[in-house]
């Protein structure tokens, strides 16, 4: 079996006002179904012992997570090498319930943006209120980052995880690098 390689193979940039790095492979499963049904809930929670997220929220713990994508869609996070087993588990939990669950790990790239200026670096690119009062831990936001779709949450204080499509990975990384360029502190938050 040959090696799995993420879009940017863990490329990192530490020369600016915030650190940027592609975190490498992250397992992700799209789960679509009736999020209030017992079958879908148990399928989601069978993969990670996390609570079902409310609208606009994510329950995350390390490489595991349940992220609310839309009223009928979750993004399930798990280690990359656990996806196949988890898909099987989810299939068993779902039984005959009408649902769709599919591996999307390799369709995405995940970035970490961290440091005291992380909020303002991201606020240069996304049309979202990222002030500490408005964007808090536990929130999960899908929006646009400059010209591409992106989803993000606070993985830790002053540390964002940002998900983009894999094909946009280089653009996203370059974009974050530009936004984090030296001397570009905003001082707004």
């Amino acid at each position: 079996m040959s090696k799995f390689v993420s879009a940017l193979n863990n490329e990192a940039y530490a020369g600016g006002i915030a650190d940027v790095r592609e975190i490498g492979l992250q397992g992700m499963i799209t789960l679509r179904g009736d999020l209030s049904s017992a079958a879908v809930k148990s399928a989601a929670t069978s993969v990670a012992s996390l609570s079902m997220p409310e609208a606009g929220q994510a329950s995350t713990d390390g490489q595991h997570g349940l992220c609310w994508m839309s009223p009928d869609e979750l993004l399930v996070l798990c280690p990359h090498d656990a996806v196949a087993a988890n898909l099987e588990k989810m299939g068993q939990s779902l039984g005959d319930a009408h649902a769709l669950y599919v591996d999307v790990s390799d369709a995405r790239a995940v970035f970490e943006l961290s440091g005291p200026h992380a909020r303002e670096v991201l606020a240069k690119l996304v049309p979202v209120d990222l002030s500490p009062a408005a964007f808090t831990s536990g929130m999960f936001r899908r929006s646009r980052m400059a010209q591409i779709p992106a989803a993000f949450w606070l993985h830790a204080p002053d540390t964002f995880r940002i998900v983009t499509f894999r094909s946009n990975a280089q653009y996203a990384f370059d974009l974050l690098k530009v936004a984090a360029q030296p001397g570009s502190e905003v001082g707004y938050f």
């Binding site: 609208a55 606009g56 609310w68 994508m69 839309s70 009223p71 869609e73 049309p127 979202v128 936001r141 899908r142 929006s143 646009r144 779709p149």
Partner: protein, 109 residues
Amino acid sequence: MLILTCPCCGVTGEETEFHAGGEAHLKRFGPGSSEDQFEEYLFMRENPKGVHFERWRHVNGCGKWFHAARNTMTLEVYGTYSAQTHTPPQDLRDRISEKVPGWSWREFQ
């Protein structure tokens, strides 16, 4: 640039997160329909100066379609509501009536 609240995910976002999808509450006519019906469905649109009902999609967000009641003159947004309905909700229509007495749009008032 407008701000809209997506009724599906609750996010209030700026217009660049959304995509306008034309007039709301069109009735589809397929095979077997008359020329007039099909023309009405495919081409004929309201162009009001005032209250209007539109379809929008939260494209850079939850991806869901929804409806918005808007004023094309003042750009006031009276409300947004589910895409899975053929009629604007009564409470929204009442709210519009309070602000624009006597409004009408297609068969709705």
